[in-house]
């Protein structure tokens, strides 16, 4: 296990693709890991204190990481625990392992993730499990759980896996969704635009785009794209 602590409050954002793989290296090597601080390439050790306890594949990020982007990007196994909040793109393209965020998560949480698990104890911002602009497929596997609320654009172009939001969410839920499940326990805004397949379950109030057909216990659409997506009450 390695513990990484910010040395200062960051003036500009840091881009650091920190994964549990780092924990297999020795401390001096970890400190030399290259990250971006604004436009400059610097060594991890210049911005963070790094300590190592044992050899398990575990990263503990102790402090405020809300200005640190790309944490857990492309990780495939092991665990990351963030004691505070994280910046954008956390868990992007993730293929396995687990990320636990005790604070809040910024935009693009788990974007295009393929497998593994992300748990957010606080809130998440926009674009959870989405496809990056221009790409055809968002989240395709794994699970994202958000204990608090989430913003707009949840699971856009999502093709598999599950997103569960315990609180409320914003607009544009499951836009162009192709598979997988989104569960929202609270309220949300517009749901299902251009949805082709998959399922969205909502506990509270929501607004459905008008191009869904009411069936017994669910709505099916979006008929605009000959979709067979299912939206139902939780």
């Amino acid at each position: 296990m390695i513990i990484i602590k910010p040395k200062t409050e960051f003036v500009v954002t840091v881009e650091a693709e920190l994964t549990p793989d780092l924990a297999e290296k020795d401390v001096e090597e970890i400190k030399k890991f290259k990250v971006y601080y604004g436009k400059d390439v610097v060594e991890l050790g210049e911005l963070f204190e790094v300590t190592k306890e044992g050899d398990d594949k575990r990263l503990v990020l102790d402090g405020d990481f809300s200005r640190v982007k790309w944490i857990g990007c492309r990780m495939s196994d092991g665990e990351i625990v963030v004691k505070g909040s994280v910046g954008a793109n956390c868990g992007a393209y993730m293929a396995g392992g687990k990320i636990v965020i005790e604070g809040d998560a910024d935009d693009w949480l788990g974007a295009e993730m393929k497998d593994g698990e992300i748990v957010v104890k606080g809130d998440a911002a926009n674009l959870v499990g989405c496809a990056y602009y221009g790409d055809a497929t968002g989240m395709s596997g794994g699970k994202i759980t958000i204990e608090g609320n989430a913003g707009n654009y949840i699971g856009e172009k999502m093709a598999g896996g599950e997103i569960e939001i315990k609180g409320n969410a914003g607009d544009f839920i499951g836009t162009e969704m192709k598979g997988g499940t989104i569960i929202i326990h609270g309220n949300c805004g517009f749901v299902g635009g251009d949805m082709k397949a998959g399922e969205i379950k909502i506990g509270g109030e929501f607004e459905l785009v008008p191009t869904f057909v009411k069936q017994e216990d669910a709505w099916v659409g979006d008929v605009n794209v000959k979709g067979e997506g299912v939206v139902r009450k939780l």
Partner: protein, 561 residues
């Protein structure tokens, strides 16, 4: 900085001047190639080119490098902009997968030893945008070909059979757009697209005008030849991307029959691969390359370029708006339509060429067939960037044309459909290094009508590439990997006498010229004034606000006819 260079002991191939792999020295002064005596007493920088190939800088006569199409492509394809190309060193950021940013275009050409590139379809009303973007491309010399084949003025003068006014209009348009020559894209077809249609043959009538594609093409050839422009009519044929279109292409090529020019072709047919399909549907499609090659080889006044697809990402962007819509319907990929008022239109659709896709593999095979079967003095190497893929893969095409062994290896990786639908597997031809140098330098320069480009004779522009390849030793049939690697990254690229690339690294940034052709002295500009004033009521801009002033360009180079 040195004013003079002495490139010593290189092995020179210079097809225009009959130099076939000879050890000789090249001297440069003030941006030009000079006699040795001219550099005596100068502060001369000596470049040791021992055992290396020395050739003229590459000339790309057909690519889409600036203007509203490529920019719309960039806007609608954010995924193209995630690749950072670490080639710019201390210069500007260079970004893009296949759709590159303007600086990246210049840097990549220079890295490959290319020193000139022509934007092949400038919407006239978008001329200012095109020139702003050309001015953002460093390293190379540039020019733009405005499109004429669907312009209402052209229809009007062709309909009236008034060649004098057509000539005057061409001169006016080239001056206003700071254009270099006459490009024609699917003549009449883009006008038909304004009504949701297209033309299906050279003899279809264009909606609302009493003209046909055949009449548009022949009238434009006549006008261009009478004006004696540097470059001939440069045509993207009707029925592009339609199985069975090779017959239309052959008919179009034959329209050049009645014309002649001592210096060059009278018709250049572009990215012919996209217009060389036999069969009557995508299920029965096959290669029409052999028939086209026979026709081109039998004529002495027509040239073509390949439009070779490269497997991987590409973006289709042409002034052929109806074709772009068809492509969008065929692939389901994103589509953007562009309208340029009474001048024509365009469309943009993302594309991936997959080796295992039978149609893509066939397109790839047809491009190579054209390159191999057509006389090396009549076919130029292009990918129609970014329609067929990146220009950075020209070295792949060069190596493929020279090696049957390389082609056999590549054929194993592609759909077996090409075995029955094309003749590529049976072609034994291996082009010589000298021929491929001609197809990428001296030939495009001659076709464009630029006597100072594409060769290393005294008086030529000092645009020079040096490659880590000894033509006296290399076995191009077997050492294709070495050939590919050598042409990918030049040892030296020299532009206007300045060293821009050294050992494959960019070491200097240079701003090239933008050529434009001024033929206004050959016509009576007053003759079309009332027509212009009358027709501009259909434009969204006033006549006096239309066009680009020379002083707005960074480094304009006016060629007076």
């Amino acid at each position: 900085m040195h004013h003079a260079l002495h490139i010593k002991n290189g092995i020179v191939i210079d097809p225009k001047n009959g130099v076939k792999a000879e050890k000789m020295d090249i001297f440069v002064k003030d941006g030009k190639i000079v006699e040795e005596s001219e550099v005596k007493g100068e502060d001369v920088k000596v470049i040791d080119a021992s055992n290396k190939l020395v050739v003229a800088g590459g000339v790309d006569m057909h690519a889409h490098i600036a203007g509203s199409k490529i920019n719309t492509g960039r806007t609608m394809r954010p995924e193209e902009m995630r690749v950072v190309r670490n080639i710019a060193n201390k210069f500007r950021a260079a970004v893009g997968r296949v759709l590159l940013t303007s600086p990246a275009i210049g840097y990549e050409y220079a890295k490959m030893g290319y020193t000139s590139s022509f934007e092949a379809a400038q919407p006239p009303i978008g001329a200012l945008h095109t020139h702003e973007e050309l001015d953002a491309i460093p390293m190379i010399d540039k020019a733009a070909l405005p499109v004429f084949g669907n312009w209402h003025f052209v229809f009007k003068y062709v309909e009236a059979k008034d060649i004098e006014k057509l000539k005057t209009f061409i001169a006016w348009a080239l001056e206003r757009t700071k254009g270099f020559g006459v490009k024609v894209v699917n003549p009449g077809g883009v006008e038909a697209w304004m009504y949701g249609g297209n033309v299906k043959s050279l003899d279809d009538q264009v909606p609302s005008f009493n003209v046909t594609p055949r009449e548009i093409i022949t009238s434009l050839i006549k006008a261009v030849e009478e004006l004696k422009l540097n470059h001939s009519v440069h045509i993207h044929c009707n029925r592009l991307g339609v199985p069975g279109n090779y017959e239309t292409t052959i008919e179009t090529i034959k329209l050049a029959g009645g014309f002649s020019n001592d210096a060059r072709q009278v018709l250049h047919v572009t990215h012919v691969q996209f217009n060389a399909y036999a069969g009557d549907s995508w299920r029965t499609v096959s290669s029409g390359a052999e028939e086209i090659a026979k026709t081109v080889n039998s004529m002495d006044n027509v040239t073509i370029d390949m439009g070779q697809p490269i497997f991987g990402h590409a973006t289709a962007m042409t002034g052929d708006a109806p074709f772009q819509f068809t492509l969008h319907r065929l692939t389901g990929a994103r589509w953007s339509n562009k309208d340029s008022e009474v001048e024509g239109g365009a469309g943009i659709v993302p594309l991936v060429y997959l080796p295992k896709n039978p149609v893509h593999a066939l397109q790839w095979a047809i491009g190579l067939e054209l390159g191999l079967l057509i006389d090396s003095d009549k076919v130029v190497l292009t990918t129609d960037y970014p329609n067929g893929g990146p220009f950075t893969e020209y070295p792949y095409i060069m190596a493929m044309l020279m090696s049957k062994k390389m082609r056999e290896g590549e054929l194993e990786k592609v759909s077996p459909y090409v075995q029955k639908a094309s003749n590529l597997p049976a072609i034994d031809t291996e082009k010589a290094l000298e021929e491929v140098i001609h197809m990428t330098r001296s030939l495009p320069a001659r076709i464009l009508g630029l006597p100072q480009k594409g060769h290393l004779g005294v008086g030529a522009d000092a645009d020079i590439a040096i490659y880590n390849l000894n033509p006296l030793e290399i076995d191009t049939s077997n050492d294709f990997e070495k050939v590919y690697k050598a042409f990918k990254t030049a040892e030296y690229t020299i532009k206007s006498g300045r060293i821009l690339v050294k050992n494959g690294e960019l070491v200097d940034e240079h701003w090239g010229k933008t050529y434009w052709v001024d033929a206004t002295g050959k016509v009576d500009m007053e003759a079309i004034k009332p027509d212009l004033e009358d027709y501009f009521k259909y434009y969204s801009v006033e006549l006096q606000n239309y066009g680009v002033e020379e002083r707005w360009l960074k480094k304009p180079e006016r060629i007076v006819i």
